[in-house]
């Protein structure tokens, strides 16, 4: 393994020199890479095989890579030329996708005793990729840092929590924000079984990429400790929208959407009307912010619904019927723009305005490659 301290200095330097706001890599004009706007996600084909797929916004399949098992959350490098697709937990592979050549470049594998948790993010210079992992011997959440070019795992840090899931790069690029879902898993025989629901304590952490130090943290009040904080998106100013999955009993109507301010202060609850909370069936499968950071979206495959909120006021803006809908990504072409995918194979472009007017256009319907879209989407190009 490469010397840890040097690797980290590289990341920190990248953060200082090539400061890059989240999403800027997607909106910037690309000198190379696909000319058309694209989405990347995992899908199961009509043949039952799991794959990583890139389509353009006309729905044309540009890349179709069969994976060893279900992949999870894609991340795209700032220059838009590389995507990483880690396995769904408790998988140990991550596919490196070459978005110039639209081919599989390589596969990473976690060391023994570690597995991916499904999400990762690139460093600002694109040289490193930071993923959430689990240390399943000690039940600790971990971040692993990979050198994308050499494929080496160059460092790891603790996430200061159990069950880390989605991770994003903070503005400035020197730190990451991680949602520690709080759920302990990894029994040898039943690796996805939840082992600590009565005592789970999810939290949000901001962690320095220079030394792994916890720079900020927040958690929910004790009465909400069973709301697993799992999925996050970040506005250009660093405000984080957090979406949860309530592991508690049915009918308690626990809030599921929260805002973590950019200053790392306390989590603010988005108080949806009771019926809207109930329509989410205790389960947000993903979350996204539009390019302005003002409109938030979450999809509940269990409720068959995608819901849109005003992040600042917390107001409910509208909802769409989306059976098994889950994947959401920012559509950087327009304010209030999102891509929405579902397990029924449907991929739509959705636009929401501040009054809650919704427009929905088909990108593609089910086809042999994307018979079912898996949990998450990314957008680039």
């Amino acid at each position: 393994m490469m010397d840890r301290r040097n690797a980290l200095r590289l990341i920190a330097a990248g953060g200082a020199v090539a400061t890059l706001a989240p999403g800027a890599g997607w909106s910037a004009e690309q000198a190379s890479g696909p000319a058309r706007r694209c989405v990347v996600g995992c899908a199961r084909g009509a043949d039952g095989r799991d794959r990583a797929v890139v389509t353009d916004i006309e729905g044309r399949v540009l890349m179709d890579i069969v994976l060893p098992d279900r992949g999870h959350g894609p991340s795209v490098s700032p220059d838009g030329r590389t995507a990483m697709v880690p396995a769904r937990r408790p998988g140990r592979f991550a596919a490196i996708l070459d978005l110039d050549a639209m081919r599989l470049a390589d596969m990473l594998e976690t060391p023994d005793g570690r597995h991916f948790m499904g999400h990762g993010v690139f460093s600002p210079d694109g040289r490193h990729w930071v993923a959430t992992e689990n240390d399943h011997v000690r039940g600790r959440g971990m971040l692993s840092v990979w050198d994308v070019k050499s494929r080496k795992r160059v460092a790891e840090y603790e996430t200061d929590g159990i069950g880390p899931h989605e991770i994003l790069l903070d503005p400035g690029g020197g730190s990451v924000t991680v949602a520690n879902g709080g759920i302990l898993t990894d029994r040898d025989d039943r690796p996805r079984e939840k082992l600590n629901i009565p005592t789970m304590k999810p939290n949000m952490r901001r962690i320095s990429l220079a030394d792994g130090a916890v720079m900020a943290g927040a958690s929910l009040s004790a009465d909400m400790h069973k709301v697993s904080l799992r999925h996050i998106d970040m506005a250009p100013d660093g405000t984080v929208l957090v979406a949860g999955q309530d592991q508690g009993p049915v009918g308690m109507d626990m809030p599921l959407l929260f805002v973590w301010p950019a200053d790392g202060g306390a989590l603010r609850t988005i108080e949806l009307p009771l019926t809207k909370t109930r329509a989410l069936v205790q389960y947000c499968g993903s979350v996204a912010l539009d390019r302005t950071g003002r409109i938030g979206a979450t999809a509940s495959p269990r409720g068959g619904v995608a819901m849109f909120v005003d992040v600042e006021s917390g107001a409910f803006l509208g909802q769409l019927r989306a059976p098994d809908g889950c994947g959401l990504a920012r559509d950087t072409r327009v304010d209030g723009g999102f891509f929405l995918s579902s397990g029924t194979g449907r991929l739509d472009a959705v636009r929401v305005d501040a009054e809650g007017t919704l427009r929905r256009e088909a990108v593609s319907g089910p086809n042999p490659t994307t018979a079912m879209w898996d949990n998450h989407l990314g957008a680039f190009g």
Binding site: G251, R321, D324, G343, D348
Partner: protein, 333 residues
């Protein structure tokens, strides 16, 4: 093919069931407008309306999904006791103007539907006939809620033709139902979702950890002593939808038989019918069921029977129909 299933399910079962619900709700509203002197007649009207509602309770698309209608008709489960809190406040305020239909319809969902009615008619019935000012207000609230439910039901029936048109005309310009499988999935979801609710909301919480740990007050409608009657009605409704009320063509039952899956058809249709019979026989409520010899075991058996039909519907029937279900919902991350 999909459109044929959807038409037959809507025309033979779902829309007629909503019409029956609207009729029963209208009948109850008329009764309730006549005052509260005869509590037994009021209760009978409540039961008729609730019987009809239970047949369509599992439908979560179409007109009922707009304007919070489902929740306004029945907000349940209610673990935070919103109904008690909001109803208590409402009665304490005794605001006459809040009884007007359009005002009540905009009030808390917890006071404008069946759960509030059930408390007024069954739990606190003495307060309804005490002959004082509060009793008078309570009585007029019963009439107002009954009228509200009837209005919602009538609106649902009035709007169904447009929803029917959307569901049976899938296409690129139809953003809700782009192809036939999306409407078919919704129809299938009435069965699978309804059976999920029977097992997960109506049976499992009540069964608790064992015979000593039953929690009969987590049941739906325990106050009106009809929890198992509801389940029997839910199961009958699922069975009728499965058979499209006896249609040979374009019923799920007929489709499975034509596909040489007669045993699966028997397992679903027969299983639902047997489970409905069992729920009926051990009912009408859990208190009755648990008081009988072997009562807990009887409810366990019911749970297993419904569970078997539920698995056959959500897994095997979906597969036979070519529907992929719950890739994201069932084992999420």
């Amino acid at each position: 093919m999909a459109v044929g299933f959807v038409e037959s399910a809507l025309d033979r079962v779902i829309i007629p069931d909503y019409e029956r619900f609207a009729d029963a709700a209208e009948g109850f509203a008329t009764t309730a407008a006549g005052g509260c002197a005869d509590i037994e007649t009021l209760r009978a009207g409540f039961h008729d309306a609730m019987d009809a509602w239970q047949a369509v309770q599992a439908v979560r698309f179409g007109p009922v999904e707009r304007e919070e209608r489902h929740f306004r008709i029945q907000f349940w489960p209610d673990k935070r006791n919103l109904t008690a809190r909001h109803l208590g406040q409402f009665i304490q305020d005794a605001d006459e103007s809040a009884l007007a239909p359009e005002t009540l319809a905009a009030y808390s969902i917890a006071v404008q539907g069946f759960p509030a009615l059930e408390r007024l008619l069954f739990e606190d019935a003495e307060a309804l006939t005490a002959g004082n000012a509060e009793a008078d207000f309570r009585c007029r609230l019963v009439a107002a809620i009954a009228r509200n439910i009837a209005n919602i039901a009538a609106a649902i029936v009035a709007e169904w033709p447009e929803d029917r048109r959307l569901m049976t005309a899938p296409g690129p310009d139809n953003s809700a139902y782009r192809d036939g499988s999306e409407a078919l999935r919704a129809i299938h979801g009435v069965m699978s979702g309804g059976l999920d609710a029977v097992v997960m909301l109506k049976l499992e919480p009540v069964l608790g950890d064992g015979p000593e740990g039953v929690r009969a007050r987590l049941a739906e409608n325990w106050r009106s002593a009809r929890s198992l009657r509801n389940i029997a009605l839910n199961l009958r409704a699922a069975e009728r939808l499965f058979r499209a009320d006896g249609a040979a063509d374009y019923s799920f039952d007929g489709f499975l038989r034509a596909s040489e899956l007669g045993r699966l058809a028997d397992r679903i249709g027969g299983g639902l019918g047997d489970a409905a019979d069992r729920a009926h026989d051990i009912g009408p409520d859990f208190e009755t069921a648990f008081a009988a010899e072997g009562g807990y075991t009887g409810v366990l058996l019911l749970r297993d029977q419904v569970g078997g039909a539920r698995g056959a519907v959500s897994r095997d029937l979906a597969a036979a129909l070519g529907l992929t279900l719950g890739f994201n919902a069932l084992d999420g991350d």
